[in-house]
């Protein structure tokens, strides 16, 4: 498996200070794909795109991109179906969910299915490129709204049984970082505000992502579903 990744490095023709990332687009709206392709062209290599779940699964398996930009809402199961089909067999491919939906159920669902981050489609091209880079490096990307959802879902409630404190609770520092993310701070600004390095901020966010994915906390699924139903 790692051999494939190195083959990818060899394939990039123009090594900048970092090698250019190979990105794959999955979205059922052709106009949106064209827009993203045009905007991202200067930052990364868009090596392919797909408009359906089935097409995405076969082409991603063949191309093995670094990062897949994944639309949440598509026919036949949406981004969730692509993630479920790929996560086992291609763990080295990283997924960044990109959606117009801000529904908690969708956001939390995609993250728990294995996406490394979630941004909305209104994100600026530069921010999107930065998010792709961050996901490719193994870090997590939280939109302000996702940070808010996590704070809400992990809120300390007296009736919430904590089975595994390591996974089911956020540390104070993680809470602080999430609050600043929700307030619209960039990673650099968070680092400055909390007097820590950017790398430390990234570590905190990645830890939160891991908790979000691994925790069996009852509230997570119930909370996300309730947000929609009430």
């Amino acid at each position: 498996m790692p051999a494939r990744g190195e083959a990818g490095t060899g394939m990039s023709e123009l090594p900048e200070q970092q090698r250019r990332l190979r990105v794959f687009l999955v979205d059922d709206h052709a106009m949106f794909r064209a827009g993203v392709r045009a905007e991202l062209g200067v930052h990364v290599d868009v090596i392919g795109e797909a408009s359906t779940v089935a097409e995405a699964v076969t082409r991603i398996a063949g191309l093995e991109p670094d990062v897949v930009l994944l639309d949440v809402h598509m026919p036949d199961g949406g981004g969730r179906a692509v993630l479920d089909a790929m996560r086992r067999t291609h763990p080295q491919v990283r997924f960044l969910a990109l959606s117009v939906s801000d529904a908690a159920e969708d956001v939390i669902g995609l993250i728990r299915a294995g996406a490394r981050g979630y941004v909305t489609k209104t994100i600026s091209p530069d921010e999107l490129a930065a998010a792709i880079r961050r996901v490719a490096d193994g870090d997590a990307v939280f939109s302000p709204r996702l940070a808010g959802f996590v704070l809400d879902a992990f809120a300390a409630r007296p009736d919430a049984p904590v089975a595994d404190p390591e996974l089911d609770q956020l540390t104070n520092r993680e809470r602080e970082v999430l609050r600043l993310l929700a307030r619209g701070y960039a990673y650099k600004e968070i680092a400055k505000e909390l007097f820590i390095s950017i790398k430390t901020v990234e570590t905190h966010v990645s830890n939160v992502l891991r908790k979000l994915q691994m925790s069996n906390r009852y509230e997570l699924s119930r909370w996300a579903a309730d947000r929609r139903l009430v």
Binding site: S101, D102, A103, T122, P144, R145, A147, G148, L151, D152, A155, R179, A182, R183, G184, Y185, R227, R228, V230
Partner: protein
């Protein structure tokens, strides 16, 4: 039912019915066949054929009467004659038949028509399983109970004059076996009927939802699209229209509709929406937790709104972040932009908005406000309002 078999086999309906009637007295064979055919035969299209179906059922009644008569005659002639069965058994059957008829006729015509539409073959089953009318259900339940009791008591009464205890036991066992047989036959049919009714109800709900969606799309989305086309040259107007429509669609799709006069989060979102509409900017709103509003919370929302307006007016950016968190001991609101910024020490005195509407207002209600800004580096307004009981009282005293 009979007509279904007739169509299936390609023979006249009457012959099938006669066959059933003749089979009826023979060990319940007809009932079993009836149940089997009921389960196996394919459903036919209902809508167009509802009226004839209804008539078919009515025309079935004489056959049922003849069948009962045959059964009665058989019983009197051969079966239980030696055990002392008299004409009483016939009366019992008559009582049950009359009772069922009364229940059928008592139910109002409108409801019966609905049953007939849902279940063209056995409208009377609708009366048994339709759960939407509790009173009618109770009536049926009591009626059925009375009939069953009368039947059992009757059977016991018929057998007991012989002073033969074994015969009484036999009679009761006979009645129980009969009841069990009815349950076995009726169970699957009832279940199917119940499912049919449920499917029909769900279909009606789906229809209503579709109508609601169509109305929303028509009233709002199409209208907005038309306005956008008319204002295509005015970038600000297009932005405002698109953003307003997006917000309303999102609310419609994902959010509970809470009243801004009652809930903190709803009030804050409404304030953000107003600022978006007025100044054609985007407010990225994130609210964690929620609570009821009161006068002080209202003041916090007003201060946050003022901060948003300031950002929209002076920051010269498209996006402003609004974050609010409800904690047990305090409410906090942060309004942040990455815009022009200013030097608080020099400008603050001239800005009535900042001094009166934000800092002063928060102080009057027992909270505090901090404004952090640097020229070129954006602005953040931080608002805090303690919610513990002591601070509530001091807040009131201070105001």
């Amino acid at each position: 039912m009979a007509s279904g078999i007739a169509r299936h086999l390609g023979i006249p309906v009457v012959r099938v019915r006669i066959a059933f009637v003749v089979l009826l007295p023979l060990s319940g064979l007809a009932l079993l066949l009836y149940a089997a055919f009921w389960a196996v035969l394919p459903l036919q299209a209902r809508t167009a054929e509802s009226p004839p179906q209804r008539r078919n059922f009515m025309s079935l009644l004489p056959f049922v009467a003849i069948g009962l008569g045959l059964l009665l005659a058989q019983t009197l002639t051969f079966g239980f004659g030696a055990l002392g069965v008299t004409g009483l058994a016939g009366w019992l059957v008559a009582i049950i038949a009359v009772g069922a008829g009364i229940i059928w006729h008592e139910s109002d015509p409108e409801r019966r028509r609905q049953w007939s539409e849902t279940l063209p073959r056995v409208p009377w089953l609708g009366a048994v399983v339709d759960e939407s009318d509790r009173r009618a259900f109770l009536l049926r339940f009591i009626g059925g109970g009375v009939l069953v009791s009368v039947g059992i008591i009757g059977v016991v009464a018929v057998y007991s004059p012989a002073e033969n205890f074994g015969a009484v036991i036999n009679g009761i066992i006979f009645a129980l076996v009969g009841l069990a047989g009815v349950a076995v036959v009726a169970g699957p049919v009832l279940w199917r009927t119940y499912n049919q009714l449920r499917a029909e109800r769900e279909g009606r709900i789906r229809e209503m939802e579709r109508a609601e969606l169509a109305a929303m799309v028509h009233d709002q989305v199409l209208h907005t699209l038309a306005l956008i086309q008319r204002n295509a040259t005015d970038v600000k107007a297009v932005q405002r229209l698109a953003r307003g429509q997006e917000r309303s669609l999102r609310n419609w799709l994902y959010k509970p509709v809470a009243s801004p006069t009652e809930r903190f989060a709803a009030a804050l979102e409404q304030a953000a929406a107003e600022v978006e509409d007025t100044y054609a900017i985007t407010v990225e709103t994130v609210v964690v937790g929620d609570r009821e509003t009161d006068e002080r919370v209202g003041a916090l929302v007003a201060a946050a709104r003022e901060a948003l307006v300031n950002a929209a007016r002076h920051a010269k950016v498209q996006t402003v972040s609004l974050y609010a968190e409800v904690e047990p001991e305090q409410l906090s609101v942060f309004v942040r932009d990455r815009g022009a910024g200013f030097d608080p020490s020099t400008v603050e005195d001239h800005r009535h908005g900042v001094r009166g509407s934000i800092i002063g207002r928060m102080r009057r209600h027992g909270g505090r406000a901090t404004i952090i800004s640097e020229p070129g580096d954006g602005t953040e307004v931080r608002l805090f309002l303690p919610t513990s009981r002591e601070s509530v009282t001091t807040g009131k005293d201070g105001s």
